[in-house]
């Protein structure tokens, strides 16, 4: 393929991307910016990478060496459509890693002004989109899931050390993803009280910025509704039962907290 032919599809993409944004810039009135900040805690404590020990519901004392994951396809649902408010949705993936603060913020600049009562997103990537090479930046980040094991990308890599039964030191690697090509992505819905005393600042006003904090409680991955004992699991990328168990637990790891809290 000559160089011009190689560049043509990319030029088309460039144009398409520009068009996709242009209507947002020509009609800014009535939209605001939503900044989602990703926060990671263990119980009531902020997550610390390295030597700090935590205990899960199975009694495993553990540390965290690495936490990185993918979220995708955000939707904000309005509380009321009485005045013509519409839901907001945006397809795409976002990569978060605890050791790079720049990844812990996701910004939407064109969110219609409204009170939003519910947020929805996918933890991981749904099967139809989770294909090899679809998201090159995830390849660069080392999140690819081998084709022979189902292909696509990891949803999460959570790794560290724990004290095994009998003492000493052992390692855990909670790697979530499309084991054998199955879809273990996790639809997450967070109900927000946009108007009451528990509101989380998720009312979007035209021309203004609203910050929403999405908080992951790492311990919840191993707690509810299923206890997950590190002693019972090694590498789990090929373990469908472990993936299914953690998929169930994943629905409760997220909450939205007041950014001022």
């Amino acid at each position: 393929m000559n160089s011009r032919a190689r560049l043509l599809p990319l030029a088309v993409l460039l144009l398409a991307s520009g068009l996709g944004c242009s209507d947002k810039t020509t009609e800014p009135v009535g939209t605001g910016t939503v900044v989602i900040q990703f926060s990671h805690v263990v119980g009531s404590a902020d997550l610390q990478i390295g030597g700090v020990s935590y205990v899960n519901s199975s009694g495993n004392e553990y540390t965290v060496s690495n936490l990185e994951y993918v979220v995708s396809d955000f939707e904000f649902h309005v509380e009321s459509t009485a005045n013509g408010e519409e839901d907001f949705d945006r397809e795409g993936v976002h990569y978060v890693t605890e050791d790079d603060a720049t990844t812990k913020t996701l910004t939407f600049t064109d969110v219609p002004a409204a009170d939003y009562g519910e947020m929805h997103f996918v933890f991981g990537i749904t099967a139809a989109k989770n294909t090899d090479g679809a998201f090159p930046e995830l390849d660069t980040a080392g999140m690819a899931w081998p084709a022979a094991m189902g292909g696509g990308y990891h949803y999460m890599r959570h790794e560290g050390l724990f004290v095994p039964t009998g003492g000493g030191t052992a390692s855990y690697t909670t790697h979530l993803g499309p084991t054998a090509g199955a879809d273990y992505s996790i639809p997450v819905t967070i109900a927000l009280d946009a108007t009451g005393p528990g509101r989380h600042g998720f009312a979007v006003a035209a021309g203004e910025t609203t910050t929403v904090v999405l908080q992951m409680d790492v311990n919840q991955w191993y707690t509810a509704p299923n206890d997950y004992d590190f002693n019972d699991y090694g590498a789990i990328m090929g373990n469908a039962a472990a993936q299914a168990l953690l998929q169930e637990n994943g629905a409760t790891v997220w909450s939205s907290v007041d950014p001022g809290a």
Partner: protein, 345 residues
């Protein structure tokens, strides 16, 4: 190569526009050579003139204290821009303590050196010139010496608009040149493009490489065959080299080193940050049965040791298959690319 740079700039432009949402959408497609879109470098945009200047400087011993050693003396193209010696020798015959890093697809890397102490190629290029056990030069002297050469100032003018020779311009030109060190035409790449077929051993090796059995892929992530991160792979129970911790001061980083790309690994011996292994067979011996449970051992390897194992337990046949696959990452067109060698005049 110029086409590749233009391609990267275009894709980067597309990404900038697609970034309205803050998420990554389907517009971020890989290049047709299989690598991710090349990042954009707005502070030092690549130009043909800048690349030409960087090429001259990279291969010119004028940057060293006594005019005897160039960047290319320790970063030799035929060895994937690495050094076959365990430790490179500086102009005074002094040896370092780490094996010279290879330079393969550096444009995608967000840190440089084994310990990642330089964030950019520009930052990296500053150090060896002034390091007393390497090129041992004074930057002010280097700048004056380069400026005194009649053919250099016009080259700086062509690259940067004026003929001023500065340290910043020297390292920027070298960085532009190095960002063209793109390796994406190995047998692995050609097999993925459907141009060639793997042997049975290469297929077995590939399948093992991308499995939890051998655990190569988590750190040596395709298509760059590095995750750009820092890991302790259990070389020493008590690592004598602080590694990443020397740059961060964080105890948790002790003994961690940046994952090297495995592209062209066949020709980039010796291996590891200290060049302790002379052959790929020795490397696999380590992973098979020699992993130490060091304090910061990467859990991806550590989980394989749960229960008392000392490694991945690779059989001789599996090791041979892995090596067959690793050799499929050799890219002769990169190792012999005349555009990356010394300029002809």
């Amino acid at each position: 190569m110029i086409v590749r740079w233009k391609l990267g700039a275009l894709v980067a432009g597309a990404l900038a526009l697609a970034g309205c949402s803050g998420e990554t959408g389907p517009s971020e497609t890989p290049n047709d050579d299989g690598l991710p879109p090349m990042p954009e470098f707005p502070d030092n945009p690549t130009t043909p003139e800048g690349v030409d200047l960087g090429r001259r400087l990279f291969h010119d011993p004028i940057l060293s204290g006594d005019g005897t050693q160039s960047c290319a003396d320790c970063h030799r193209q035929e060895f994937a821009f690495g050094d076959p010696r365990q430790f490179s020798l500086g102009i005074h015959g002094d040896a370092g303590t780490r094996n010279a890093s290879t330079i393969v697809n550096p444009a995608w890397q967000t840190s440089q050196f084994w310990d990642g102490r330089a964030a950019t190629l520009e930052d990296q290029a500053v150090n060896p010139v002034q390091n007393p056990i390497e090129m041992a030069a004074d930057w002010s002297v280097v700048v004056a010496t380069v400026a005194a050469q009649p053919d250099y100032p016009p080259a700086f003018a062509a690259a940067f608009g004026t003929d001023d020779v500065t340290q910043e311009r020297i390292v920027r030109a070298i960085a532009q040149f190095e960002r063209g060190f793109v390796s994406a035409d190995s047998k692995f790449d050609r097999e993925r493009r459907g141009e060639v077929a793997f042997s049975a051993a290469e297929i077995r090796g590939r399948d093992l490489f991308f499995s939890e059995g051998a655990e190569c892929f988590h750190c040596h992530a395709a298509p760059l065959f590095t995750d750009g991160r820092f890991h302790d792979i259990g070389l020493d129970l008590d690592p004598p080299d602080e590694g990443r911790a020397a740059a961060t001061g964080v105890v948790f980083d002790r003994g961690k080193f940046k994952t090297p790309s495995l592209r062209n690994v066949e020709v980039s011996a010796p291996y590891m940050h200290d060049g302790r292994f002379a052959t790929l067979e020795e490397v696999l011996d380590h992973y098979a049965a020699g992993i130490q449970r060091s304090p910061n051992l990467d859990p991806v390897l550590g989980v394989q040791l749960n229960g008392g194992a000392t490694g991945l337990g690779l059989t001789p046949e599996q090791r041979a298959d892995l090596i067959a696959f690793l050799k499929a990452l050799t890219d002769p067109s990169f190792l012999q690319n005349p555009d990356l060698g010394p300029p002809s005049s």
